[in-house]
Symmetry: C2
Subunit: 440 residues, 2 copies
């Protein structure tokens, strides 16, 4: 299984096609500017499904279809956080409720803030010191990790589990320092997880500057907060869809390679980097192969998954369908780390399979894609893991992602046209190669 | 000459120090926002010299000094380009005169445009078809190169030599499609080169959208242009300076490693990526080594060179001084490719010296710096080449650079704090290593 001069030539053709004629950047512009952010179950998410179906058809897929997935609908209502330092007045600060957060039931919560830097500090406090208070998790995103996803994995615990842990000790609400690399005051939303047996309390995020001020004030003396929020999870699921476009394999049509990102986003910004970029790149895989007249040996499916952010219902529906139809997926590839300059392709598979891929690395070097050493799949494809499907994930440069992730700054303008396209190049090259050589 | 676990530890300390306590991003903010753009010989350039001297002292350099360099001063005056399509009216378009361009001597030039796609097309035209006309060089930046510096090297010929070549055939002015990867209408300035024996004619640049419209119109029928410009090169040189900060080597103080970027910029935007980034990274090398208490074995000099953009007088002055003082430079390193995420370090030296550096590559891999395969030095250090000094250059990712290079969009906000810092990390690690092991 050695790569040939022919592969190298096809790689160059793919690169030229995307860099010179790629439509992914314009597709992203339309998705971001005509539809905007699109949380699961929203009217915008429904429009995005229509858009995706049309874009997949325009790309020339042999077959395009929608796969139903019933998704939760969380709605951000009026929300407000005000802080009072010392004997001053309450002043509103820039904030965002965490996704999935409950509201305040029409009430205004007002209480003293108790600051903790991490879970250890919280757990060391006697319950009576926490009871009735608002816990401020002042955990900083570690800037010393070179790959920011390591910092994210570390800090996101406080967003995910902070409310439950604080509630266990009697807190009435939670403020978290945003899970953010930003040197700014931009709040980051994102999923927080409740446990049915623990009282659900409202959770909001503040940007790093507000967190700095708040932390300094908490060290000096008493700080009080007011929280009002009409955020709520709607009682019923909403019918939504994955969008799927397929090119049928010429030699082994029953062997399927899936490549995808997620179509839903949080309800702020434009969902450009998370994950409009992955959607338009996945569509570009189809368009590029078709434009070059490449008939892949194996079946290639581009999937725009629904509901990655708060439920994964699309990914689960896809895996359930694959199982029910007894489909043979030889590889699942995700692109959900932003449309930044590509660095590598992560692999999450056994050593035997990894050994089949690594010899191809040199083909990617002229495209500055060199890093195949890390484990990486993706959330949307993770439900396929039970079926032992090998996983891979595009690894773009990670430096800018957590400045804008889940914020109002996740907009089209923060994506560079060439970086986005080069990500699509690497993805198309990888998927093409795997369709030619297979994976045993 | 093998790297040790100790080197790996120092590399990590350098990374932590810059990522957690680096001052380069704040230094860049001050340079961009308090001083702004700073073309050679301007009052802003003089302020930048003062700023640089202070920043180098704050970084803890053992010794800081200014090295005189007399620089040309080019001044952009009132400038205007208007286009008339068919029987329409003249309408002003967004434009920038090229740097070093002559003006129109108080006159308004008005003439028909003759479009050529490249020099071959120009040279194929009979002189009488060009005489008295305004030549529009419609050469597109090639987007198919993965590294945009290759596209720049290809397209910049038209900016550099277009006016001379058009003037040879009797043209009265030149319009060029900007040397730009941008999908926008942003004009890019930059140096154009005259020859004394050929009449100097004014040269202006338009953004890609205006160039697209103009090209389409030229294909359809006659287009006329009006150009007015008060741009001029001042008759006298202006006294300016390189800013130098040094840490004296502990074991081999006479062996010098120089690391630098350039302090001057074009007179648009804020000179953030070109090359404020390189300046603050070079200062960060000094600060980081000092903060970590590292006494390098060899002498390390950070240099903020003056006048890279339109004369290279600072680089020449430095090389002249090195020669006059019989200094032994074992390595010169430049950072002048933007404060983007680092990809590698280019080497411009003999195979024997290259062979001494390549075994260290693995130390850089955890920092995503892997590419040591390319030749790269830098303009400011190039005058040292005559003294056979080995050269190296930081290679950041190139995708975004030529969207903003030499434009009003080259501002602080287009630089990411973590990308800038990681460039400084790689630069400090490399300079540290070379100071420990030397280069024979």
């Amino acid at each position: 299984m050695l790569s040939t001069a022919q592969d190298s030539l096809v790689f160059k053709n793919i690169s030229d096609e995307v860099l010179l004629h790629g439509t992914c950047y314009n597709n992203l512009r339309v998705l971001c500017k005509k539809i905007g952010n699109r949380i699961s179950g929203s009217p915008q998410a429904a429009k995005a499904v229509e858009w995706g179906q049309k874009a997949m058809q325009d790309a020339g897929a042999d077959k395009v279809w929608l796969m139903p997935a019933d998704v939760p609908r969380w709605v951000r209502g009026y929300e407000r956080l005000a802080l009072r330092y010392g004997n001053g007045k309450f002043k509103n600060v820039t904030m965002l409720s965490l996704g999935n957060s409950v509201g305040t039931d029409g009430k205004l919560l007002e209480a003293q803030i108790i600051m903790v830097n991490d879970f250890d500090e919280l757990n060391a406090l006697p319950d009576e010191q926490v009871k009735g208070k608002i816990v401020f998790f002042n955990y900083r995103f570690r800037q010393d990790f070179v790959n920011t996803f390591n910092g994210y994995g570390d800090a996101v615990r406080y967003r995910g589990f902070g409310p439950v842990e604080a509630s266990k000790k009697g807190a009435i609400a939670v403020i978290i320092r945003s899970v953010s690399t930003g040197e700014d005051d931009v709040p980051h939303t994102g999923f927080t997880r409740y446990v049915d047996s623990i009282k659900k309390i409202p959770a909001v995020a503040v940007g790093n500057y507000t967190a700095d001020t708040l932390a300094a004030a908490c060290k000096k003396g008493k700080v009080f907060a007011q929280i009002e929020s009409k955020c709520k999870l709607m009682p019923d699921l909403v019918r939504s869809y994955n969008v799927i476009g397929e090119i049928k394999g010429a030699e082994y049509p029953d062997e399927i390679i899936v490549v995808g990102g997620h179509l839903d986003s949080w309800d702020v910004g434009e969902g450009a980097s998370d994950d409009g970029a992955g959607c338009v790149q996945s569509i570009e895989v189809i368009r590029t192969l078709k434009a070059l007249g490449i008939r892949p040996k194996r079946t290639i499916r581009a999937v725009l998954f629904m509901n990655e952010e708060n439920g994964l219902k699309g990914g689960i529906a896809y895996a359930d369908s694959a199982k029910a139809n007894n489909e043979k997926h030889i590889l699942a590839v995700e692109t959900d780390a932003g449309g930044f300059t590509p660095r590598g392709i992560g692999l999450e598979m056994g050593p035997d399979q990894r050994a089949q891929i690594l010899p191809f690395r040199k083909l990617f070097m002229p495209y500055n894609v060199y890093d195949f050493e890390h484990d990486e799949g993706g959330a949307d494809i993770s439900p396929l893991e039970k079926q032992h499907v090998p996983m891979a994930g595009l690894r773009p440069d990670s430096q800018r992602y957590f400045d804008i992730h889940h914020t109002n700054n996740d907009v089209f303008e923060a994506v560079n046209h060439r970086e986005l396209k080069l990500g699509a190049v690497a993805l198309t090259q990888f998927v093409y190669l795997m369709s030619e050589y297979g994976l045993r």
